[in-house]
């Protein structure tokens, strides 16, 4: 609880763990039910993080970086690595070190420091040229004119926001892929690739005239444009500095038409998203290694042509549903996923990012493409229309600079060092395993595992990863005296910041070992229920995607019951005697809401939506993730300050305004009375200023939420009994349903559902937890 009250629970380090005190043994750990996991935001900005303009010292055996937990022998100029206990000599330039003259990384409070690896003002910029970021826009043209208009204007605005030196490329696609050569001045010129044939990177390069052979002979004759610090100058025909090609791009957008290939009635437009991605990837392949580049795919519908197809062109053939996936009745699914996996691997090997902006009423294949987005650390936004603020504002946010900037970084690599006996199972989140084996690699794999290093082609300020740990099975806890009572974890994140500089962030944390057999009290105190809920949610979604026939609800229930059985205080077989330690008290409620959430309930959600929710869940920080699981509800009324309200249908009242934040959507719900007054226009009358303020208050709060969030949530403003009110009702605890409508308070509401209410859930939980 205390932690939750903290406005910055993640602190300097950006790390939150499900257990802040670790049991000593694997057996004990497994008894804890909730896995040992850490949620880690690799480059979350924090005002207190210092940046050191030099290269860090590394342990010569385990290559962990010198950190505040190292023991330093100032006299001998030696430091002992806390991970492997290796004694390392300080190099000569550390000779000035003393107890009173510590380098930044040794300050106890600087458990997280940043090293700027390329900041040395190099007199010769040619040696370490700053590589401008590359933005390759990939626009779907199979859409109606209106949508096209929206997306074009969004693009225009985005291009205007790009830094002058950022390189821009443009690819449009429909039935075929068109790569626009922006550097050709005589007329608009595009390279057209067929949409129904898989194409390798080599072919793309060769056919664009960027192939090796062509390069050797000096490239296709009629190229213009100047080399821009790029070794392969050919690619500058396609990628131009934003400042140079803004006009061209705008003209191009003006002329760009929707796909001209005819669509027979009863058919879907033929859209070769898969090939377009291959081509875009291939094109970026011509960039020199280390270039931070992202493909920004704007997709308006499902891929129906060529590799990566997710549905047939026949409109009578609906896009696969969860049911189809369960029954293996989605003929395209596996093939498409395979295709996008290969694509993801190629992107990862090039270090490039795929961002997916999908706007369509039907599914577009996010479920299939998820792998490519997630592995490359790309952004994903799913909206209903390119005209919708969810897309528009989110898209704008990507390119905005300043305080709200996403801080898009490239080419990140994460390495984790940990104390002996700690094994890493894997990471859930936007990254890819680099398959770096080591003693710290666990046998079982969760998510991206089998490694101690991960690649994050793209990462931003809010990127968050969940690392799952395991303990070595060798049981050494019998000799507690000889072992260090503390465990250490070190996260090393190197990346290229938006300015193109190479940075390395080192976060070293320490937690205590505890012999849970001896003292479960401490263990309980170390439990972070919010983090635990999120970890469970992420683990559940992972299992849903990877385990055949996984029953998420049952698994969650069972885990919760086990947890309650272990940590609850009760008398056997006496449900009434059941109580939970405050450290656990909120957890069942999280689980209750998780069970009902879109993460677990696929009914009424498409596979695309589910994939989207999972992706966002996996990459957000704990606080936001917790909101996704259990929305926050704030009530506004005349008589009190805005206050959190119970997430219960009982919170509805005619004279209240409720603000529900469920992360993906934000709902402002006007009670019946309020709605009537508003409709009567009272808030426009000077004598009802208070009412106007009341009306305005939730809007101001919503704006704050929206400003900070990416993707921008969907804002729903609704009235009690209005049709849009369902967005609120779906999230509330159905304590009042038509079954017990007579009990309800005046002005309240009922929810028409057979779902169990929280109370019923608890009753069952208690009963099952105390069973012997």
């Amino acid at each position: 609880m205390s932690e939750m009250a903290n406005t910055d629970p993640e602190g300097l380090d950006g790390v939150r763990m499900s257990w802040n005190v670790w049991p000593r043994t694997k057996v004990e750990a497994s008894k804890c039910v909730i896995p040992l996991a850490a949620s880690f935001a690799p480059i979350r900005p924090h005002p207190d993080i210092i940046t050191l303009p030099y290269v860090p010292l590394r342990c010569k055996t385990c290559s962990a970086v010198l950190n505040p937990f190292s023991r330093v022998d100032f006299a001998a100029k030696i430091w002992i690595c806390p991970f492997c206990y290796q004694r390392n000599h300080f190099p000569p330039h550390y000779s000035m070190i003393s107890e009173t003259n510590l380098p930044g990384e040794l300050y106890a409070q600087y458990t997280t420091v940043q090293y700027s690896l390329s900041q040395n003002p190099n007199p010769n910029p040619n040696l370490t040229p700053t590589l401008p970021p590359v933005f390759l826009f990939m626009l779907d043209t199979c859409m109606i004119e209106e949508e096209m208009g929206f997306v074009k204007s969004a693009l225009r605005r985005a291009i205007g926001l790009l830094p002058e030196n950022a390189l821009v490329g443009f690819v449009s696609f429909g039935t075929q892929v068109q790569v626009h050569e922006l550097g050709f001045s005589d007329m608009s010129k595009v390279y057209v690739f067929r949409g129904n044939k898989e194409i390798s990177k080599e072919h793309v390069l060769e056919q664009l005239g960027l192939g090796i052979s062509v390069r050797r002979t000096g490239g296709p004759g009629y190229q213009k444009g100047l080399p821009n610090g790029f070794p392969n100058s050919g690619v500058t025909r396609f990628l131009l500095p934003a400042g140079d090609c803004e006009y061209t791009l705008n003209a191009l957008l003006d002329e760009l038409q929707t796909d001209q290939w005819p669509v027979p009635p009863g058919s879907r437009a033929s859209r070769c998203t898969g090939v377009a991605l291959s081509v875009a990837t291939g094109l970026l392949g011509a960039c020199s290694t280390g270039t931070g580049a992202r493909i920004i795919a704007l997709v308006g519908g499902p891929c129906t042509e060529g590799p990566g197809t997710i549905v047939s062109k026949d409109l009578s053939d609906p896009v696969r549903s969860h049911k189809d996936l369960d029954k293996d009745a989605a003929p395209y699914f596996k093939k498409a996923v395979k295709f996008y996996e290969n694509l993801a691997n190629q992107l990862v090997s090039q270090g490039h990012v795929l961002d997916l902006f999908a706007s369509a009423l039907d599914q577009v294949g996010v479920a299939e493409m998820k792998v490519a987005v997630e592995k490359t650390g790309g952004l994903v936004v799913l909206a209903e229309s390119f005209g919708h603020s969810v897309f528009k504002d989110s898209f704008k946010r990507v390119f905005e600079e300043g305080e709200q900037s996403l801080g898009l970084c490239f080419n990140g690599t994460l390495e984790i060092n940990c104390s002996k006996d700690i094994k890493i199972q894997g990471i859930v989140g936007p990254c890819t395993s680099l398959e770096k084996k080591g003693p710290a690699v666990a046998d079982t794999v969760i998510g991206e595992g089998g490694t101690t290093a991960w690649k994050m082609c793209g990462l931003d300020n809010s990127t968050c990863l969940t690392v799952f740990f395991d303990l070595s099975s060798s049981d050494r806890s019998n000799a507690p005296g000889t072992v260090n009572p503390m465990l250490y974890l070190q996260f090393l994140t190197s990346y290229q910041n938006p300015e193109g500089q190479l940075m390395l962030r080192v976060t070293t944390i320490s937690r205590a070992w505890i012999d849970s057999a001896v003292s479960s009290e401490e263990l309980v105190q170390g439990f972070d229920q919010e983090t635990a809920a999120v970890v469970m949610a992420r683990l559940t979604s992972l299992k849903m995607e990877t385990e055949e026939g996984f029953d998420a609800t049952r698994w969650l229930d069972r885990s919760l019951i086990r947890l309650c059985s272990k940590f609850g205080d009760y008398r056997k077989d006496d449900p009434a005697s059941f109580t939970l330690n405050p450290s656990f008290s909120l957890f069942p409620q999280f689980m209750f809401n998780l069970r009902r959430s879109q993460f677990v309930q696929v009914f009424n959600n498409s596979p695309d939506e589910t994939a989207y929710f999972h992706m966002v869940l996996n990459r957000e920080n704990i606080t936001n993730a917790a909101v996704m699981i259990q929305p926050s509800l704030i009530s506004y009324s005349f008589n009190s300050l805005p206050a959190p309200a119970l997430l219960d249908v009982a919170s509805i009242a005619a004279d209240r305004i409720l603000l529900l934040d469920s992360y993906f959507s934000v709902v402002i719900f006007h009670g019946m009375q309020i709605a009537q007054w508003r409709n009567a226009g009272y808030h426009n009358q000077p004598e009802h200023r208070a009412f106007a303020q009341l009306l305005q208050a939730p809007n101001d709060d919503v704006q704050m939420i929206i400003r900070e969030r990416f993707p921008v949530p969907r804002l729903v403003v609704c009235d009690q009994h209005g049709s849009q009110a369902r967005f609120l009702l779906a999230k509330l605890n159905p304590s009042a349903t038509y079954n017990n409508a007579h009990e309800m308070a005046a002005g309240s509401d009922v929810i028409f559902t057979d779902d169990v209410s929280l109370q019923v859930f608890f009753e069952h939980l208690q009963r099952l937890a105390v069973q012997s």
Binding site: S188, K189, V190, R194, L208, Y222, Q260, W261, P262
Partner: protein
């Protein structure tokens, strides 16, 4: 026009009447006034000045030059400017009106009108037809109009002279051919007397004398009106009397090749005048052309040996008269014995004598098929039941009753069909018949179309099909009573019942889809070579100029693409601010980058197109891509127009080196590996693999017709490339080595003619024959998917299809055998039409009749095509041997079965085929049958032959040569292309300038000691040293230069080809090239003409005796 209304609504035909309005409803392909007519005119030599109506047509070649008219001049001269538009400044010359032109060009202008015929003939020789025959031989002087009228000569010419009949015939021209006439006609030509030397004797001498007297030589006084027609030297004399006489002799005795054993070449002929190249000057009217003939004539007579080739083309072998053909025209060698030494007088051996004037020809007279005039002559056809020979002609004008008879004759039986051939401007246009919804009446069994030879019986209620013999019910709406003569009473009003060629409006049943729009897709090579040699610029400029010639209207669609190692399409949609370039980089597996908008309505994209064409050369100026993805580009362009079909015009400059269908420089491989190269040399003339063929078949299936303009400096493997046009009904234009200076004009004119000539799309053609005969196979540029039909994605007036026939039964002697060609096609204005061409020929069981009715031009065209077909698949020696044997076998058969009584020492040639040895020799020396040439040159020759029309077949191997240094001496009235010089170096002098043309190339040879004055006048240079390698004909302000320009333009018109003009000088490769065309000379590729005759003679003797 005639109203032919069928039951349904008659469609008014616009014949000449309404010139204007082209496209609409009844646009009649050819006839049509404007465009067509024009075109026609251009072609024709003599366009009668008279026809105003025709006026406005587009001359195929823009050259304005021909017309003296002032305006034009500039154009012509233009030559100087690099390419600038070819000839005529667009505006001026182009189609516009030639009206003015008309007159001017034909010098004679005045009378000419076709009808006039009457006047001419002093002789009165009426039957023009018969008379006409000779044309071949006659020295036709310029083709000027003279024509019809003259018919006269005939009698004379023929041995027939003797006949009294002639006179009869003489009467009225065509119209009259009353029954009586019949005999005459046929007979006319026929040489009754045959052999009788005496006969000719008589004629001969006198005649000549008179006529020839002055110059002696040139019989062929050209242009002058009356006389000329006759052709024979004799004729010169003058009308009446003359004719008769001469003719006689000619036949009989015609020149003999004497010599038994091989007396060497040409000793001076005893009699003849000395063969000097230059004829006596002024004396005669025209230029003195062949010195030769004249000479001999005179003297020779006495001896049987004389030479004169008389003309007989139309051998009228009426059965009746005497069939003894024996004597007929044999070129006998005179008694060798006599002379003792065997000698052949080179001046007396048979040579073609161009006919000067137009002949008026009725296709049937007296209810009998009239043998057609030689294809190379100038004639005006009146369709009186059989089709015009322009559309369809048979190698033999009578059909042998049995296969054995045909085999015995050694001749071929084949039809040469040119379904959209250009008519003569004075001919009545083809009538269009609209049966409305019912569609054309057809035999219900064999599906033959109604034609004049279907016999109505039973009061018109039923009719018997002349093709299969089945009796059908007459459709009720089509019923008409029969008149006393057994013909339907309305027969003369219904074109389909009285014309050999009509066009039916096709109903829905003839369409699998709406008639396709006129789609033109231009594909231009922009690889480094093409850009640097100026080929791209030339192509763009040509296209740009030709855009205005595309058919007007919303149905005209245009697209354009360029290619190097990738393919660049252009989106020309108007809404776009500027064209959008769409690149298709995958040349292994191509596709079209847009479904629509790559091909756009012309009216919507005219401006864009012009802009684009202007900028293409600049845009690719620095292109360093040497690779060319020709096959892929063609395939991609095909995909772009696949949905509609259309014409694909490709401009290609280098060997396709990448992408689908890429080729290798296998010619070089052949050269380096001599042993293999020698053995399999002909393999290089075959397509390298099936890739392009497979593609082409698919193109054809989707009605895409591909024409390729090859503007190259190197080997490009025409053999492989040409498969595409050949299969799709297109053709290859070859500019090698491409010259940015002189070729753009030709490129433009070729392109313009390609687009403006009468043509059709998505066509299907089938030939039906009467029972007893069937089609064996078809040859030409088309795609064949089922045995009976040929598919022609494109068909135009220049394309000819050879149809080989075979017997499957005996025919009845005395009956007639019909051939019907039906061509279903879509006009450029989107009407679906069926052109039905019917020819009905008598059957005969007499070998002599076959020889008499052999059609030399057609037979030779067949030989030529067959030889060309074999070249790629057989060793060259074998082909040469086959060609020689074909000739020998025919002559042998004649000698064996038809020539009576002659000493074995004589070489006897059937009159109709007396030039066969000469042409055969020429063929043996042609590019295709030599192996010293470039592979591509041979391939292009083969490709060209495959669709070559009959009239152009002979010039291709036996070119026409004229002296131009003395043109100025000629009379204004003379025809332009007149005295033709035998192709022998004897006739080429060092102080002369000669123009030699074969319908494709035009070589101007400048002797070493030509008067510098003349050089200055003609070429603006002062000495032979300054002769440029690249030449553009200019017109200078002097009469000689004007004459030459007129001459060249006249030839262009005749050949429907702009001709590549090249200057040649002695001691230079160009000179060698020139001399290689002189087929009568002995050279590495073959013996001299005389030697060849001797060889043939010997072979025959050997076979006779064996």
């Amino acid at each position: 026009m005639a109203a032919f209304l069928p039951p349904g609504a008659p469609r008014p035909r616009s014949g000449n009447d309404n010139p204007s309005q082209p496209p609409p409803p009844n646009y009649n392909p050819n006839l049509n006034p404007n465009s067509l007519a024009d075109n026609l005119n251009n072609l024709n030599l003599n366009r009668p000045p008279s026809m105003p109506s025709s006026a406005p047509r587009a001359s195929p070649f823009g050259q304005p030059p021909h017309f003296p008219s002032p305006a034009s001049l500039p154009g012509v001269s233009v030559g100087s400017s690099p390419f600038s538009r070819p000839g005529p400044p667009p505006g001026a010359l182009s189609r516009p009106a030639v009206p003015p032109t008309g007159p001017p060009q034909s010098t004679l202008s005045p009378n000419v009108p076709p009808p006039a015929r009457s006047m001419g003939p002093p002789t009165g020789q009426p039957s023009f037809i018969g008379s006409r025959t000779p044309p071949g031989y006659f020295p036709s002087s310029g083709g000027t109009n003279v024509p019809p009228t003259y018919v006269a000569p005939p009698p004379g010419a023929f041995p027939s002279s003797g006949f009294p009949s002639r006179p009869v015939g003489s009467a009225p021209p065509p119209g009259t051919r009353p029954s009586t006439a019949s005999p005459p006609l046929t007979t006319g030509p026929a040489l009754p007397h045959s052999s009788a030397p005496s006969g000719y004797v008589t004629n001969g001498p006198p005649a000549f004398m008179s006529g020839a007297s002055p110059g002696g030589p040139r019989f062929p006084p050209a242009g002058s009106a009356p006389p000329p027609p006759i052709g024979h030297p004799l004729t010169l004399g003058s009308a009446g009397a003359a004719p008769q006489a001469q003719s006689m002799r000619s036949f009989l005795a015609s020149p003999a090749v004497v010599a038994p054993p091989g007396p060497p070449a040409q000793p001076a002929s005893p009699f003849s005048a000395p063969p000097q190249g230059v004829p006596p000057p002024p004396g005669s009217y025209g230029p003195p052309t062949w010195p030769v003939q004249p000479g001999q004539v005179g003297p020779s007579q006495p001896l049987s040996g004389s030479v004169q080739p008389p003309r007989m083309f139309g051998m009228p072998p009426p059965p009746l008269p005497n069939q003894s053909m024996t004597a007929i025209p044999a070129l006998s060698q005179t008694g060798a014995p006599v002379s003792g030494t065997s000698k052949i007088d080179p001046n007396q051996i048979p040579r073609p004598i161009p006919s000067s004037s137009s002949i008026l020809y009725e296709t049937r007279q007296g209810n009998q098929a009239n043998p057609p005039p030689p294809a190379t002559s100038d004639y005006i056809v009146r369709d009186t039941g059989n089709c015009s020979p322009r559309y369809m002609r048979s190698t033999i004008s009578q059909i042998p009753c049995t296969a054995d008879l045909l085999t015995t004759s050694g001749m071929q039986l084949a039809l040469l069909i040119q379904p959209l051939a250009l008519p003569h401007p004075s001919e009545e246009p083809i009538q269009v018949v609209d049966f409305a919804d019912i569609g054309p009446v057809r035999c219900s069994r064999c599906k033959a179309y109604i034609n004049p030879f279907m016999k109505f019986i039973d009061q018109g209620r039923r009719f018997i099909c002349n093709i299969c013999g089945y009796t059908d019910e007459t459709p009720r709406d089509y019923h008409c009573n029969l008149g006393p003569d057994g013909r339907r009473r309305d027969a003369d009003e219904r074109p389909e019942l009285c014309r050999g060629t009509v066009e039916f409006v096709a109903t829905k049943e003839y369409m699998v889809r709406d008639p396709m729009p006129a789609v033109y897709f231009f594909l231009i090579d922009v690889s480094m070579n093409a850009i640097q040699t100026g080929a791209t610029a030339a192509a763009c400029s040509a296209i740009s100029q030709v855009i205005s010639d595309l058919p007007e209207g919303p149905r005209t669609m245009v697209g354009i693409a360029t290619f190097d190692s990738t393919i660049h399409f252009y989106n020309l949609k108007r809404a776009l601010q500027q064209p959008l370039m769409l690149i298709v980089p995958d040349v292994q597996d191509v596709y079209t980058p847009l479904q629509t908008d790559v091909v756009v309505q012309l009216s919507e994209c005219r401006q864009h197109l012009e802009l684009l064409l202007e900028s293409i050369p600049n845009m690719f100026q620095n292109n360093r891509t040497a690779e060319s993805a020709f096959g892929a580009a063609v395939q991609a362009a095909f995909l772009a127009i696949k949905s509609s079909g259309g014409k694909l015009l490709v401009f290609q400059s280098v060997l396709p080196s990448t992408g689908v269908g890429s080729l290798s420089a296998r010619e070089a491989e052949g050269r380096t590996n001599i042993s293999a190269g020698e053995k399999e040399a002909h393999k290089l003339l075959q397509p390298v693999d099936k890739t392009l063929k497979t593609m082409a078949i698919e193109f054809a299936e989707y009605q895409v017709c591909v024409d390729i303009f090859v503007t190259t400096q190197t080997y490009i493997d025409i053999a492989s490339i040409s498969v595409i046009p050949r299969t799709t009904g297109g053709q290859v234009y070859y500019y090698y080595p491409f010259s940015a200076l002189s070729d753009p004009a030709k490129l433009y004119n070729d392109l313009r003619w390609n687009i403006t000539r009468p043509q059709g799309f998505e066509a299907v053609m089938r030939v039906r024959c009467s029972q007893g005969i069937q089609v064996q196979d078809y040859h030409g540029n088309f795609c064949k998917r089922i045995p009976t039909d040929v598919d022609l994605p494109g068909i135009d007036c220049d394309k000819t299809i050879m149809v080989n026939l075979k017997h499957d039964d005996k025919l009845q002697d005395g009956s007639e055998c019909s051939f019907q060609c039906a061509l279903l096609y879509t006009t450029v204005y989107g009407q679906r039409r069926i052109r039905v061409t019917t020819l009905s020929l008598p059957c005969t069981s007499m070998l002599s009749n076959l020889f008499r009715s052999a059609d030399l031009d057609t037979q030779f065209a067949c030989f030529l095509k067959q030889a060309a077909n074999k070249i790629p698949s057989s060793p060259l020696l074998q082909v040469r041997e086959q060609v020689t044997n074909l000739c020998i076998n025919v002559l042998l058969s004649y000698r064996k079965f038809c020539a009576t009584v002659t000493s074995s020492g004589q070489l006897i040639l059937p009159e109709a085929l007396k030039l066969l040895p000469l042409y055969t020799l020429a063929l043996l020396k042609s590019i295709g049958l030599r192996n010293d040439g470039r592979i591509d040159d041979r391939s292009i020759w083969i490709e060209c032959v495959s669709y070559l029309s009959t009239p152009l077949a002979i010039p291709l191997v036996y070119p026409r040569m004229v002296a131009i240094h003395d043109l100025k001496q000629k009379d204004e009235n003379e025809c332009l292309v007149s005295p033709v010089i035998p192709l022998s170096s004897e006739h080429v002098t060092d102080d002369g300038i000669y123009l030699l043309e074969n319908g494709v190339d035009c070589l101007i040879y400048i002797g070493n000691s030509v008067d510098s004055n003349i050089l200055q006048l003609l070429f603006g240079i002062s000495s032979a040293e300054e002769i440029p390698t690249q030449f553009v004909l200019q017109q200078f302000d002097n009469p000689l230069s004007r004459k030459v320009n007129d001459l060249v333009n006249e030839i262009r018109r005749q050949r429907c080809s702009y001709l590549r003009i090249k200057l040649c000088k002695k001691g230079d490769p160009s000179g060698a090239l020139f001399f290689s065309h002189l087929v009568e000379d002995k050279n590495p590729s073959g013996p001299s003409y005389v030697e060849f005759l001797v060889y043939v003679h010997r072979e025959i003797q050997m076979k006779m005796s064996s």
